[in-house]
């Protein structure tokens, strides 16, 4: 076989189920206290700093990290449970999600010890928010075309240029970004970019919010003008960021957030059709649930393989490809199925409001964090086609 794709049927261990109960109980309390409304994915209070601290106090941020950095040394599968329960409840995770999933692990791998000791415990306590500085006005999927310059100066670097589509930059305390430290070489066009830790909310950084078609202002343009970054904020090898980016992708691409972003409309559809659905609704719901279940099993499988120390890069890309296409189509399929729902369904207004938002959200799902086209290119490479 040229393509030995593996999806071992991994089950979440017993201890995950106890944790799941704790997370559900915590979220139920938060909902009861009015922190967020699980039926409103389009809430305005994306910041929710107090909620973030309470999640941290539970030990659910950085939970896989070493204890000396504030982590719990728990398994990747336990983190999986926390992530999916938060996502399904529409909890306001924006403030800590990026730091917990991505930025913390990068720091653990590449930051100097004193920076780790300073920043990681604060992530674990839910105190700080991270953004990722990848895309630029003329480089998105083509990451290695980035032009924002980091010029060597005494004790550090001066940053000049613009990052764009940067989620949460307007609330972020830090950004992990790639900047150009050298021109690309003839042999390697990916050469010359370096990963940096950037402390936000300082002079020399201007954050300009950009309105999204959903009506929200979640992403931004971030302009750097002679902004100073000290030497010890370099993450990893100077000019060698391309070697560091790929190994994170399996973690970033296969999580439950890659197919649950519009999940709430399916729940609401089931509520709207009631306990005795007609054949059309029943079949539609049955297919969607079968597809959802399959994706979740694939996603858990990748999480389990990661926990076991494997690197299922192609499998993770497949999960994101299938998952994001599915969550993108979901609001439209639900709309089809809801067309004949009784006018008297008590949650009709909620469903319509949710569909309105989910349909506007849908286009971004196959773009953010690696477009469908890029993913299929990675899969094709894994198949031996390029």
């Amino acid at each position: 076989m040229t393509a030995a794709l593996r999806f071992d049927p991994i089950r979440l261990p017993e201890k995950c189920e106890q944790l799941r109960k704790e997370v559900r109980a915590f979220l139920a309390e938060e909902i009861a206290a009015g922190t967020f409304d699980p039926h409103k994915p389009n809430r305005e209070d994306t910041d929710a700093p107090e909620f973030s601290r309470r999640v941290g106090a539970k030990g659910w941020l950085g939970m896989t990290w070493p204890k000396k950095y504030g982590g719990q040394e728990r398994s990747f599968l336990e983190r999986y449970v926390v992530t999916e329960e938060m996502r399904v409840a529409n909890a306001p995770t924006r403030r800590f999600f990026v730091a917990d999933r991505q930025s913390g692990p990068v720091l653990i791998k590449y930051a100097p010890e004193h920076i780790k000791m300073d920043i990681l415990p604060r992530i674990c306590r839910g105190e700080i928010c991270f953004a990722i500085g990848m895309s630029e006005p003329n480089s998105g999927s083509d990451l290695f075309a980035a032009k924002t310059r980091a010029t060597k100066t005494d004790g550090g670097y001066l940053i000049n240029g613009t990052k764009i589509w940067t989620s949460s930059a307007h609330i972020a305390d830090y950004m992990i970004a790639i900047f150009r430290t050298s021109p690309p070489t003839k042999e390697n066009r990916r050469h010359g970019l370096t990963q940096f830790l950037v402390k936000m909310k300082q002079p020399g950084i201007q954050v300009n919010p950009i309105g999204q078609i959903t009506g929200q202002y979640e992403f931004n343009e971030v302009v750097f003008t002679d902004f100073f970054v000290p030497d010890d904020h370099v993450l990893g090898e100077v000019d060698g960021a391309w070697k560091q980016a790929t190994s994170e992708l399996a973690y970033e691409r296969s999580g439950p957030e890659r197919f649950l972003e519009t999940y709430y409309v399916l729940t609401e559809l089931v509520r709207a059709v009631g306990p005795n659905p007609d054949t059309r609704s029943a079949e539609g719901i049955g297919r969607l649930v079968a597809q959802l279940h399959t994706m979740r099993r694939m996603s858990v499988s990748v999480a389990g393989m990661l926990q076991a120390g494997k690197e299922p890069v192609v499998e993770a890309s497949i999960v994101k490809d299938i998952g994001t296409v599915w969550e993108q189509q979901l609001p439209h399929r639900v709309r089809d199925l809801a067309a004949f729902v009784e006018e008297t369904a008590t949650n009709r207004e909620t469903l319509e409001r949710q569909l309105d938002f989910a349909i506007k959200t849908a286009p971004k799902l196959t773009i953010q964090g690696g477009t469908t086209e890029v993913l299929r290119g990675i899969i094709a490479r894994g198949l031996g086609l390029r």
Binding site: Q291, D321, I322, A380, G384
Partner: protein
């Protein structure tokens, strides 16, 4: 399950490679490959994998048997291996010993029913029974006044209307008219026709997943050989992206089928959780058979549409297997009803329970 890591699968793969090579079979117009293949499989005890030693079988685990079916799908095996395995499994549920030779199970559709009369005779019509014409015996699930029973029936006692499915394999209508079974025993408590359909559906799901793995493999290989517009077609981005989607469908089928198999292998009862797994596998694998098979054909162009090429052995069988033991439409309606009946707030707990 791309790597064989158990002895049952290793044995089977060796036999398939020797005696069920798709290209050799495809060139053989007289089906003379069938008898030696069946004989080798039988001598290795594979058709009765799921029958305990004391009932005449080889007593392999459910998990090993499922892995064997996945391997059979990778070779598009067209002898009643899956059917005899299912029949042996069904008979073993009622502690009925399995005879030698080919068997199949009836009914093979959730819509059909065989009834058990007070005099112990069986009547009813079962459509789309795979390999009924090749079978020496039928394993039958029948319903009488006292609930479900399992019976071993001499195949010559039934009336068989011969038919072929879209994969050119036998899919026959079997009519039993007051037939006295060889053996009849009550089914275990809680065992019903749905249990049997879910088990059959998971078997078919694993076969479909295997066929898709093979379709991906031969499509990738072909795209790396075929030259058009002065380059290998694998270098065209449109072709690459199609094959990436085929890999996705193959992966989804494999994940759904192996997850369901694992669920059944470790289940005490066929509860809602197992139902979700097994029904989802059949639905998702059937969808993958359609989408994935279409891409495999698209990549191959006209050559894949010929009888000479082996692609159809996989693509048409995968499509045909969708129909057995409940189509994806059937299971989607049933699963949808289950979900609706449990209620909106119970959907996520069910999904997350797996």
């Amino acid at each position: 399950m791309a790597e064989s890591d158990n002895i049952v699968v290793e044995t089977a793969e060796k036999i398939f490679a020797d005696l069920a090579d798709p290209q050799t079979i495809n060139n053989d117009r007289k089906d003379s490959w069938q008898a030696p293949l069946w004989q080798a499989l039988s001598e290795a005890g594979l058709p009765l994998s799921w029958v305990p030693d004391d009932l005449g079988g080889s007593g392999a685990s459910l998990a090993d048997g499922f892995a064997l079916l996945n391997a059979a799908g990778r070779f598009a095996v067209a002898v009643p291996l899956a059917e005899t395995m299912l029949a042996g499994w069904l008979l073993a549920q009622a502690k009925i010993a399995s005879p030698e030779g080919e068997m199949t199970v009836l009914p093979a559709s959730p819509k059909d029913r065989i009834t058990l009369a007070a005099d112990g005779s069986l009547s009813g019509r079962a459509r789309g029974v795979p390999f009924a014409k090749a079978a020496k015996h039928f394993a039958v699930l029948a319903h009488g006044r006292d609930g479900a029973s399992i019976a071993l029936v001499d195949a010559s006692k039934g009336r068989i209307e011969s038919g072929l499915n879209v994969g050119y394999d036998h899919s026959d209508t079997v009519t039993l008219d007051k037939v006295q079974p060889v053996t009849l025993r009550p089914a275990p408590k809680g065992f019903d026709q749905t249990t049997m359909m879910l088990m059959g559906g998971v078997a078919r799901s694993l076969q479909i997943a295997g066929a898709l793995e093979a379709m991906l493999d031969i499509s990738v290989r072909y795209s790396n050989e075929r030259v058009a517009f002065e380059k290998k077609i694998s270098k065209f981005q449109a072709v690459q992206h199609n094959l990436a989607r085929l890999a996705g469908e193959s992966a989804a089928a494999l994940a759904a089928a192996t997850s369901a198999a694992d669920a059944i292998a470790n289940a005490r009862t066929f509860d809602d959780e197992v139902y979700l797994e097994a029904a989802s596998a059949k639905i998702r694998c059937a969808e993958a058979a359609e989408k994935g098979g279409a891409i495999a054909h698209q990549v191959h162009g006209a050559i894949g549409f010929t009888l000479e090429h082996i692609l159809h052995r996989y693509s048409l069988r995968a499509l045909a297997w969708r129909d057995d033991f409940g189509s994806e439409s059937h299971w989607a309606v049933e699963l949808g009803k289950l979900i609706a009946n449990r209620g909106a707030d119970e959907l996520w707990p069910l999904v997350a329970s797996r």
